[in-house]
């Protein structure tokens, strides 16, 4: 029963992240510099005990589907699989005094979650932007885009956390 619930949440999360990215965030940009890739929130918030093979495969699938819409065959898939793989190492590296049971601000606290998300978002965006550029001309310009976009994505990820999870905490 529990497994079924987990599976349904997992599939729903996958589809919703995909649709929101394609229909609402695809063309979003600030000052021609900052772009939002909120869809990786899916990978960031997958349960800790999820099967790592499933995590890798779903990250690959999500990335590949988005590649079609961004005309960047393979790039999003590459970046997604990379952060899906580095996820558990990042959690281990940051460490924590209390045990982490759920990847959400209500469990981990704001500063832990910001560190964790920012590291992975930064890696993901570095890969995306430098792969698209395919050379190191305009290095600083691309770096500026990476940093601006990472902050943009981070802010939306945090907003989603507060919108979706903060109330349920009081309700329970």
């Amino acid at each position: 029963m529990n497994q079924q619930v987990a599976f349904i949440t997992f599939s729903l999360s996958f589809v919703i992240h995909l649709l929101i990215q394609i229909f609402f965030i695809h063309h979003l940009e600030l000052f021609g510099l900052a772009f939002c890739f909120l869809y990786i929130n899916f990978i960031l918030t997958l349960p800790l005990d999820a099967n790592r093979n499933v995590v890798l495969l779903s990250a690959f699938g999500l990335g590949l589907l988005l590649d079609g819409f961004y005309d960047t065959l393979g790039i999003h898939a590459f970046a997604c699989v990379l952060i899906a793989y580095l996820r558990s190492f990042t959690i281990g590296l940051i460490g924590s005094k209390t045990e982490i049971t759920e990847l959400a601000i209500r469990n981990t606290g704001l500063s832990w979650f910001v560190t964790y998300s920012f590291v992975l978002i930064l890696i993901h965006h570095l890969v995306i932007f430098f792969f698209q550029q395919f050379n190191f001309e305009m290095f600083l310009h691309t770096l500026l885009r990476v940093i601006a976009s990472s902050l943009f994505t981070l802010i939306t990820v945090i907003l989603v956390q507060y919108l979706l999870y903060s109330n349920t905490k009081n309700a329970r």
Binding site: I22, F23, H26, E29, G32, F35, R52, N53, L56, L57, F60, G63, L64, D67, G68, F69, Y70, D71, T72, L73, G74, I75, A77, F78, V81, L82, Y85, F131, Q132, Q133, F134, E137, M138, H141
Partner: protein
């Protein structure tokens, strides 16, 4: 054998990781080298129809500006038509152009369903494809100037390499003195591109008009590209020229795909003469 399986199992996640990364990397590289070998991109039928749904909702909000744009274009075309009529009338109606040249270019209207301007390699998706006679390599122009070149087609959609793509090079000419150069985007602002290979002894000024030259098979000659916005003489031989593009790439709605009926003829002739060369 059993220990081999055990080793494989303990590294299972790492192996899957490496396999998926290898697969993605192969896709990236293939996409970069073989332009036509791509079947999965925004020209894909399913991806295209989702993009079209999304853009048809957006297009309602832009109807006013599209109308204005189209009526301005109508006005300009009427003006040109009148001027040509007058000219023919004055020349005693004696002009007989070869009909093959008169009908050399055919235009197909398409709607832009997806467009980016912020990457260094930008693509546009339009809602016409193979079934409408669109083929890879055809030029795409808009009401106010050139836009790009068709890269891939599916049955109903095509993916177009935007002029805002650092690899697309277009032969250009300065209207005033017929100086030939080439236009290439430098990946920075979506409103300007670089005009290269114009010798710095030529007399050109800010505001001069830049058109497509007759040395390309993709675009009709003398199609608008833009006007010179800034020029400096940094290098010894060439000007460093910024061209203000006449098309605003962040507001594309309707475009025309150019079918050059004589392209094949020209191509055959050119390859023949190349192979015949001693």
């Amino acid at each position: 054998m059993r220990s081999l399986f055990l080793i494989l199992k303990s590294y299972q996640v790492l192996l899957l990781f490496l396999f998926l990364e290898g697969l993605s990397l192969a896709l990236v590289l293939q996409n970069n080298y073989y332009q036509n070998a791509v079947f999965y991109n925004s020209a894909n039928t399913y991806v295209g129809s989702v993009l079209e749904t999304s853009s048809s909702v957006e297009s309602y909000f832009g109807l006013a500006s599209v109308n204005k744009q189209l009526s301005l274009e109508n006005q300009r075309l009427h003006g040109e038509l009148e001027a040509l009529k007058q000219q023919v009338f004055r020349e005693n109606k004696k002009i007989r152009l070869d009909s093959a040249f008169l009908n050399q270019y055919e235009f197909a209207v398409a709607r832009v369903v997806n467009n980016t301007t912020h990457r260094s390699k930008n693509y546009i998706t339009i809602n016409k494809g193979f079934k409408d006679g669109i083929r890879p390599g055809m030029g795409v122009i808009g009401p106010s100037g050139i836009i790009g070149k068709v890269k891939d087609c599916s049955a109903h959609y095509s993916s177009v390499i935007s002029l805002l793509h650092t690899d697309l090079i277009v032969s250009a000419v300065i209207q005033k003195n017929d100086a030939i150069g080439r236009i290439q985007w430098n990946g920075k602002s979506y409103s300007t591109a670089k005009l290269l290979e114009i010798s710095n002894h030529l007399n050109i000024k800010k505001g001069d008009t830049v058109l497509t030259s007759g040395y390309n098979k993709t675009f009709p000659p003398n199609t608008m590209i833009g006007t010179i916005q800034k020029l400096s003489t940094k290098s010894q031989t060439y000007y460093d020229i910024d061209v203000l593009l006449s098309t605003s790439f962040n507001q594309l709605t309707y475009v025309y795909v150019v079918k050059n009926q004589l392209e094949q003829e020209q191509e055959i002739l050119e390859t023949d003469s190349l192979t015949l060369r001693p």
